[in-house]
Symmetry: C3
Subunit: 333 residues, 3 copies
């Protein structure tokens, strides 16, 4: 559904506790700062107190500890951000694709497209590919031979899935993502690089989201595996033979080199890098822009960011940094 | 115009002061090193003195302090690089698109294409989209529902603009750029990630250039905003809800995480990273590969690059680095 | 050929020395861990001894020093990884493209397509472009005006080659790569950026592989040059006017800023960065995530990675790091 709904109706569908007038109607979610009088906003924490005081929102979603901070009609939830996500979805239901293959799509006769699936203009689906129930293949996507896309998945325009790769159910893949390009396998022979054929696949579980221009390489001989519930932001790079554990999330520009094994429920901050052949156990959190250079066997948060400074201070400190070992030696001499 | 033009004619159009024979004809711009005898080259500074002495160029553009460094016919300008840019454009005018929608384009009947606009083969323009005067939509581009592209803009082949996003006038967007994919908004609930619908848009001002494979995410509820005159190089990532101030430029592979606010006239060097929710004031310059981890309130240049060294020296220093705090404690004990 | 082949037959084609039953048939390459009883696997070194002992492979490829580590039929080679690459190719021959232009491709009448070349659905080839013998242009690729693709090259779906750029023989280009977009040349004039027209080209030698979503910019006035045998992984960025020496390889997310000159046989690790206008001599190896900030004139391995730690240790050390110069001054006072 979309359109105005009362706080009481929201709570009856999603749980949570209404404080104040449960009959207040809201039609859209908004930020505290820009909410209009028919919007419901979300209070995420103390730094937004001034915005909460000044908001024009009709109602607010917040946590129990913030319940008394506003006189506005409100819904109290133990997980207000997740609650907000559910309200946003309630008011903005995902579009249901109209079934059918567009006349300007190019589908090989040996591909199997479910009756309820949708294939948009200019998409190409090769022989042996399978598009499951209610999946939506956007304009200009390419689905290689014998590849498959699970039920209720949505590929935005311009996604490329190489031959033989598999996406699970409810995948969301954004434009420009490339799934299944060759891994970077090169053997040096007499000063030249000899290509190692990449005959593995990419296997992607259910409920995976893949950001714009993200790349996931096929395995050398075994498969590259992305487990259920993994979320990858834009411009992430996953090398060949990696396994990314279930419900792990990576922010934009993160990179995982070949044959790395990342555990379940891990997070990589933006631009974080994991070198090749390493293992990270479950529940490891890597800070943004941190480079992981050895395996991690204990859950926890790991960081390695060089502190920035004004340019002159940085230059002075960096000059010292180059001589740490020498200085140490002198002191110990 | 293109084709041979005299120094005098150039100066009468673009300003600057001719020294030497103003009747010399030049047909193309070139580097000092590779210029032929009908080319005009550009002297950018002292490190190219030897090339200036050896050049075969017919004429040179340079600053007043370099005026005496060559006997060649020359044009003296206070901003020789900008002058060079203008001469290059004079000799290489931007192609004027032939108006019309290619027969192999797919334009929804409810889209509005200006008569003077051009839509190339395989492009898709969805319902409610607007393509303004003289805009040029390259082959295979995708313009989503209710999106708009301003007058005199050029989208090179393969650009994706998601629904509802707006580009201003005179935009230049290179291939593979993705504008308006979902921001990376995920709420954790019982060990799983719940998608936060991204209902904001991307709003892009006038005179913006966007590099190849750059990604700009739509806002969560408010819009992601790119102000006038912003220039983004290739493979830049702009997260949801960001605002990038007018005339800010970012070099290749720079990344700005969600909800960051970047001021006007800032520059980010290549691969620089700004973490989420931070604010940078106007006129901040971030060096290449620097990670900004807190807000910046003073204009200036900021740097944080770990100094590289030969591998053995690095290993020795890095070993010391890990123990700085302990060493300090010992010294103070 | 594909299909079962005996060790003896392999050795007669590729060299190497068979130890044990030369009549053993193998049908596919596999990892030690997942090999079945008709597969041949590859032993890459001591850390895989346990997997070697437990493998179900029919045969193994290994180096002379490992010859005695298994009783399995085996082929001994001085360069077992390169040998493995050759066996993998033998068992998985590259597909030979069926010649012809797909009915749903759009080829300008003034383009020249070799009779033996293949152009897939939705590809666009502009006027004056040349596609040489046996080259394969994948679905949805864009080949700009007067661009050329050398013999036996393969462009996977969705590659963009801007006008006037040249690829040599046997190129492999993965999806989403953009070759020849404008370099990032902007002159500052009265607080605004003035575009410097980019009229150079990209010239790519023979035997080059380019990864998914990698970008290589055209030169400002001279050309950007990628010499023979260069291998670029995914999401690599090469700025305008660069020259990349023959047989140099760059791992994923590496970036080379404009006008840098990289020597022959260099390697850049993943996410390594080389700043603009620098020169690296031949045989320089840059470690992953290292930022090169000055030219390198001696072959060798160079590193500059900030060591990561658990978050609390990192915070303590980073706090010290900010004061290195001050501490030094105090000690010397």
């Amino acid at each position: 559904m979309a359109g105005p709904i009362s706080l009481g109706e929201i709570a009856s569908r999603l749980g949570g506790r209404v404080v104040g007038d449960a009959g207040v109607l809201v039609g859209q979610v908004a930020s505290l700062e820009h909410a209009g009088t028919s919007d419901i906003a979300f209070f995420s924490g103390a730094r937004y107190k001034a915005q909460l005081a000044a908001t024009h929102a009709a109602a607010v979603i917040l946590g129990p500890q913030a319940e008394a901070l506003t006189p506005l009609p409100r819904i109290v939830s133990d997980n207000p951000y997740a609650y907000f996500a559910r309200v946003a979805r309630l008011l903005n239901p995902a579009p249901v694709p109209q079934a059918g293959v567009h006349a300007a799509a190019h589908v090989d006769a040996r591909a199997r497209i479910a009756d309820s699936a949708r294939v948009d203009a200019r998409a190409v689906v090769e022989a042996g590919a399978e598009i499951d129930e209610r999946a939506w293949i956007g304009a200009g996507c390419y689905i290689g031979a014998a590849a498959s896309v699970g039920a209720d998945s949505r590929l935005h325009p311009g996604v490329v899935v190489y031959e033989g790769c598999h996406l699970g159910k409810r995948a969301i893949v954004h434009s420009g993502a490339v799934i299944g390009a060759d891994g970077f396998g090169m053997a040096l022979e007499a000063g030249r690089w000899l290509k190692v054929p990449q005959i593995g696949r990419v296997l992607i579980g259910d409920d995976v989201e893949i950001g714009a221009n993200t790349t996931i390489d096929r395995g050398t001989v075994d498969d590259t595996v992305i487990e259920d519930g993994v979320k990858l932001d834009n411009q992430v790079q996953i090398g060949h033979n990696c396994r990314i554990g279930a419900h792990t999330a990576m922010a934009g520009c993160a990179g995982v080199a070949g044959s790395a094994q990342i555990g379940k429920r891990c997070t990589l901050g933006g631009a974080a890098v994991v070198l090749g052949h390493l293992s990270l156990c479950d529940d490891v959190h890597v800070s943004a822009a941190t480079v992981i250079t050895r395996s991690i066997r204990e859950p926890g948060t790991y960081t390695g960011v060089y502190p920035f400074a004004d340019n002159a201070s940085w230059a002075r400190n960096a000059a010292q940094l180059r001589h740490l070992a020498k200085e140490r030696k002198k002191r110990n001499a």
